[in-house]
C-alpha cells in the first residue's frame, strides 16, 4: 500500500460522479442561453442600437446613453418615483405584517385563527392583472364601490385614485400592502412559534400581564427576523413593482407613478429606443446587484443569516 491515496481518489470521484455533471447539463445550457447571453447583450447600452444593424454594426456611442439617463428630466424623475414608491412599500410592508402577527398571536381559538389566515393569504396568489381589473372597477370615479363608500361615510366628492399623481402613489402602496400583508405574516408567525413557553410562564410568575409579555418577550423575539427582512429589502429598493404599476397606471400619472421598469418597457419596446432602454435597465441591474450583495453581507453580520 505504497501508492499515494490522492490520485485514485480523484479518478474514483470522476468515475462515480459523471452522472452528476451530466444531470446539470440542461440547466447549465438554459442558463447560459437565457441568463448569460442577455448579460453579454447588455453591451447595447453603449450603442445606438438598431435592430436591423445588430450588435456588430450599430454605432458605438460610449457613455452617451448613461449621460442621457442623468441629464433628462423625465428619467431622473422616474428614479425618484421608483425610490419613493419602493421605500414606502418596504416600510409599510414590514409594519403591517408585524402588527398583524402580534394581533393573531393573541387569538386563542385555533379555528378562528386558521380561518383568518386562510382569508388573508389569498390575495398574494392572485395576479395583478386580475387585481388591477378589480381595482380599476372598484376605484372608478363613476360609481366605483370605494368612492361610493367614502362619499357615504364622509360626504366627500369622488377621489380620482388612479388619475391623480399623489393619490396614485397612495393607492399603489395601500393595495400592495393589502395584497401582501397576510403572506408576510407567515415569517413572523414562524418566529413566534419558536418562543420557549417557559419564558411566558416565568413572566406570569413575576406578575407580567399580557401587554408586558408582548413588550418584553414577543416583540424582542420577532426583532431578529425583522432586521433580516429590513436589510434584505434594501436589495429591492429599485424594484417598485412592475406588474402592479403597469396594470394600474395611465398617462395621467406618469410624472409621479412611472418607475424604472415601466420606463424601460416604454422607451425600448414601445418607442424603439433600444440602446437607451438597455442602459437604464443595466444601470438598475448593476445598482441592484451591489445593493443585494451589501444587504446579504449586512444580514449575515448582524443576524448570522445565510440563504444556503
Amino acid at each position: 500500500m505504497e501508492k499515494s491515496p490522492a490520485e485514485p481518489k480523484i479518478r474514483w470521484n470522476l468515475q462515480r460522479n459523471w452522472p452528476l455533471h451530466f444531470m446539470l447539463i440542461p440547466a447549465v445550457l438554459l442558463t447560459i442561453v437565457f441568463a448569460y447571453l442577455p448579460m453579454a447583450g447588455a453591451v447595447m447600452a453603449f450603442q445606438d442600437f438598431k435592430p436591423w444593424l445588430g450588435f456588430g454594426d450599430s454605432p458605438w456611442v460610449g457613455l452617451k446613453n448613461f449621460q442621457k439617463l442623468f441629464g433628462q428630466e423625465d428619467s431622473v424623475q422616474v428614479m425618484w418615483n421608483t425610490l419613493i414608491i419602493a421605500f414606502s412599500k418596504i416600510v409599510a410592508g414590514l409594519i403591517a405584517p408585524f402588527a398583524f402577527a402580534l394581533m393573531l398571536n393573541e387569538v386563542r381559538n385555533s379555528l378562528f385563527k386558521r380561518s383568518v389566515q386562510t382569508l388573508v393569504y389569498l390575495p398574494h396568489f392572485l395576479s395583478w392583472v386580475v387585481l388591477g381589473g378589480i381595482l380599476i372597477d372598484m376605484l372608478s370615479t363613476e360609481g366605483g364601490m370605494i368612492n361610493k363608500l367614502t362619499g357615504w361615510l364622509f360626504g366627500i366628492e369622488p377621489i380620482f385614485f388612479l388619475g391623480d399623481g399623489d393619490w396614485f402613489r397612495f393607492t399603489v402602496v395601500v393595495s400592495h400592502v393589502w395584497k401582501e400583508f397576510g403572506f408576510g405574516t407567515i415569517v413572523f408567525l414562524a418566529s413566534l412559534a419558536g418562543i420557549n413557553p417557559a419564558l411566558y410562564e416565568a413572566a406570569v410568575t413575576d406578575g407580567a400581564n399580557r401587554w408586558k409579555q408582548t413588550l418584553y418577550i414577543t416583540i424582542p423575539a420577532m426583532l431578529p427576523i425583522t432586521i433580516v427582512l429590513a436589510t434584505l429589502a434594501l436589495g429591492s429598493i429599485l424594484n417598485a413593482g412592475f406588474d402592479q404599476i403597469f396594470n394600474l397606471y395611465n398617462s395621467l400619472v406618469y410624472d409621479k407613478g412611472d418607475i424604472i421598469d415601466t420606463y424601460v418597457y416604454r422607451t425600448a419596446l414601445v418607442n424603439g429606443n433600444m440602446g437607451f432602454g438597455t442602459a437604464v435597465g443595466l444601470f438598475k441591474s448593476a445598482i441592484g446587484f451591489l445593493l443585494i450583495v451589501a444587504a446579504y453581507r449586512l444580514a449575515y453580520q448582524f443576524a448570522n443569516y445565510r440563504i444556503f
Binding site: I134, I186, A190, I307
Partner: protein, 292 residues
C-alpha cells in the same frame, strides 16, 4: 394562564373585530366582482351591485365561455401551465440533486452553485432578453413562455436544502447496493421529497397561470395570447386594435358584467388550487429557510 382583566377582555373584543374586518377585506373585492358578473346588465351599469347579485343571471359567464377568443386563450394557458410545470420539475430535480452533494464528494459543486446563484443577483435586463427570444425565433411559440423561466434558481435552492435533510445513510445504502446516481435520485430522493415537489409545482403553476408580460411581448399575434395576457389587453389596457375583432364582438366583451366574469374566470384556477397550496406553503417556505 389566561388574563381575565377587564382591559384584556376589551382588547380581545376589539382585536377579534379588527381581525375579522381585515380578513373579510381581503376577499371582499373578489366577492364584489363575482356579484357583478352574476348580475343583470342594467343593474351593473347603473352601479347598483355591491356584494350580492342584482337580477341574477348567468348570461355574462355564458357569453364569456362561448367567446372563441377567450376559450382559445384559456386553452393556451392550460397548455403553458402544464408544459411550464413539467419543464420546471425535470430541471429542478436534475439540478438540485447534484447541487445537494457536499463539495468534498462532488468536485465543482461550488462553481456550479455560483454559476446559478449569480443569475439571481444580476441580469442583462429586459431589452437584451427580448432581442434574444426574437432572434432565436421563439416568438409566437409556447416555448418563449416556458424556456426562459425553466431554471428557477430559488426553488432549486429550496429543493436542494430539502434533499440535504434526507438521511445520508439511505444514499449510502443505495450506492452500496449498486444503484447509480440516477437510480438513487429517482427511487430514494424524489419519492421522499414529494411534499416539497408538490409545493414548488403548485407555486410554478400559479406563476405560469398568472404571468402575462412575456405573453404580451413575445407574441405579436393575439391568437397566441395566454389568458392572463388577453385579460390584460381587454380589461386593463382596453386596447382592442390588437385583437382584430369586429365592433359588435368588442361591444360584447366590454360590458361590465362580461368583464367581471372574465376577471373571475381568470382567478378560478388559483382559487381551486389554493386549499392545496395553503396546506403546503407554510411548511414549504419555512423548509430550506431554517437550518440546524
Amino acid at each position: 394562564m389566561v388574563d381575565r382583566s377587564y382591559g384584556y377582555r376589551l382588547f380581545t373584543a376589539v382585536n377579534t373585530i379588527l381581525l375579522l374586518t381585515l380578513s373579510i377585506g381581503c376577499v371582499l373585492p373578489l366577492v364584489h366582482i363575482l356579484a357583478v358578473a352574476l348580475s343583470g346588465k342594467s343593474a351593473a351599469t347603473a352601479n347598483l351591485v355591491y356584494l350580492w347579485p342584482v337580477d341574477f343571471t348567468l348570461e355574462a359567464f355564458a357569453k364569456t365561455l362561448s367567446n372563441d377568443k377567450f376559450s382559445h386563450s384559456l386553452f393556451i394557458s392550460v397548455q403553458r401551465t402544464l408544459l411550464g410545470t413539467g419543464a420546471f420539475l425535470v430541471i429542478a430535480a436534475l439540478t438540485a440533486y447534484p447541487l445537494s452533494k457536499e463539495s468534498r464528494s462532488f468536485k465543482g459543486r461550488g462553481l456550479y452553485a455560483w454559476f446559478f446563484v449569480f443569475t439571481m443577483l444580476f441580469s442583462g435586463g429586459l431589452v437584451p432578453s427580448y432581442i434574444l427570444v426574437m432572434r432565436l425565433g421563439l416568438n409566437n411559440s409556447l416555448w418563449a413562455l416556458v424556456l426562459p423561466v425553466a431554471v428557477e434558481v430559488w426553488s432549486i435552492i429550496l429543493l436542494l436544502n430539502f434533499f440535504r435533510n434526507i438521511p445520508k445513510e439511505l444514499e449510502e445504502a443505495s450506492l452500496i447496493d449498486g444503484a447509480g446516481h440516477f437510480t438513487t435520485m429517482l427511487r430514494i430522493y424524489l419519492p421522499l421529497s414529494l411534499p416539497a415537489l408538490a409545493t414548488l409545482s403548485l407555486f410554478t403553476m400559479v406563476f405560469h397561470w398568472n404571468e402575462w408580460f412575456m405573453g404580451m411581448i413575445y407574441n405579436t399575434n393575439s391568437d397566441n395570447y395566454p389568458l392572463a395576457t388577453l385579460l390584460q389587453t381587454i380589461i386593463v389596457q382596453q386596447d382592442f386594435t390588437k385583437l382584430a375583432m369586429n365592433p359588435e364582438a368588442v361591444e360584447d366583451i366590454t360590458n361590465r358584467t362580461v368583464k367581471a366574469a372574465q376577471i373571475f374566470i381568470g382567478a378560478v384556477p388559483i382559487l381551486l388550487v389554493y386549499p392545496f397550496l395553503q396546506r403546503f406553503f407554510v411548511k414549504g417556505i419555512v423548509l430550506g429557510a431554517v437550518k440546524e
